[in-house]
């Protein structure tokens, strides 16, 4: 124990601002963990967020400022239209707007889920049930670090991992 306590790495302190960053990352995201256990709630909340966002004109405001990056996501199968995703780098991560004309509502009991991935690490940007209008989501990571963007169709269950039903996939 004496030796362990002398280890300088034991006494490395994180920067003071890291706490605020993390609190903002989590609490600022809206407090909606997108685990499948609460996916039903998350979907409801996401729908509210999208509706409020569109209603308040925030989406328009976001679009007015040119995106930091934009990409087109081709559908992975015939019949799936291409989607466009625009991203804005924010202090807490990334704000994305996704549009896919013609994809419409998710089948009953399912939801769409947008993922940012790096290798085997998958970060959900959120779930939503309709793509009839553009959706705006926030995620607490940067695309630079999670270059793969993909959209899955998820059954509403307790499984927090991505399903195998992939609709769009770029950067992998």
């Amino acid at each position: 124990m004496e030796i362990g306590l002398r280890d300088p790495l034991l006494w490395v302190d994180p920067p003071a601002e890291l706490e605020h960053t993390i609190v903002d990352l989590i609490a600022g995201t809206g407090g909606i963990p997108v685990t499948r256990k609460r996916r039903g709630f998350a979907i409801g909340a996401a729908a509210v967020i999208v509706a409020v966002t569109a209603g308040a004109g925030m989406l328009i405001a976001t679009r007015a400022q040119s995106a930091d990056w934009e990409l087109t996501m081709p559908g992975v199968a015939p019949g799936i239209p291409a989607a466009t995703v625009s991203g804005w780098i924010t202090p807490g991560g990334t704000r994305v707007v996704m549009a896919a004309e013609g994809l419409g509502e998710a089948p009953a009991g399912h939801a769409y889920e947008l993922w940012f991935s790096s290798g085997a690490t998958h970060i959900s940007a959120g779930t939503f049930t309709s793509l009839e209008r553009p959706v705006e989501l926030t995620v607490a990571v940067a695309r630079r670090d999670y270059p793969r963007l993909w959209l899955t169709l998820e059954p509403i269950d307790e499984d927090p991992t991505p399903s195998r039903v992939v609709l769009f996939d770029v950067g992998g």
């Binding site: 124990m1 362990g4 300088p8 034991l10 006494w11 994180p14 609190v23 963990p33 609460r38 970060i123």
Partner: protein, 176 residues
Amino acid sequence: VDRQQLERFTAGDRSAVRQMYAEYGRAVYALAYRVLRDHGLAEEAVQTTMLNAWRNAARFDPERDIGPWLYTIARRAAIDVYRREQRHQSAELVDTDIAVLPNSLDEVWQAWQIHQALAQIPEAEREIVRCTHYLGLTQEQTADRLGIPVGTVKSRSHRAYRRLADLLGHLREATA
């Protein structure tokens, strides 16, 4: 962390997140830094750890000790960052800023447990341990630095050491 705290954390309650970070943030950071040897990357690993913990908190059984669970997430996050940096093949990072992954992750686990033990003793006692063990100060120098009598340094040091011995006794048994 009890069930109520965990539920508040899961719901993204600001004070609960702050409390979780207060209890584990330093240990997570130290673990990440031990693996990555880079402050920026360690920060990133801490953010990923806390984010992943939050995302999966609803599935965690609050009857269990959260420390080992969080340790697993933190170690995974740090290793993921390490591997990503390796893949980027940045000579500067690989050669100078990132040490090789520790040969034994037992070392990381042991350090994590010491961190947890330090987090459980009063701040005043922890400061004494920091001065006497890390900074290598004598009890007199510690008293000067902290502006307290030498007798107080001695008594706090004694109490701190007893608490740590109780909390970390299993490490001594394991290495004996």
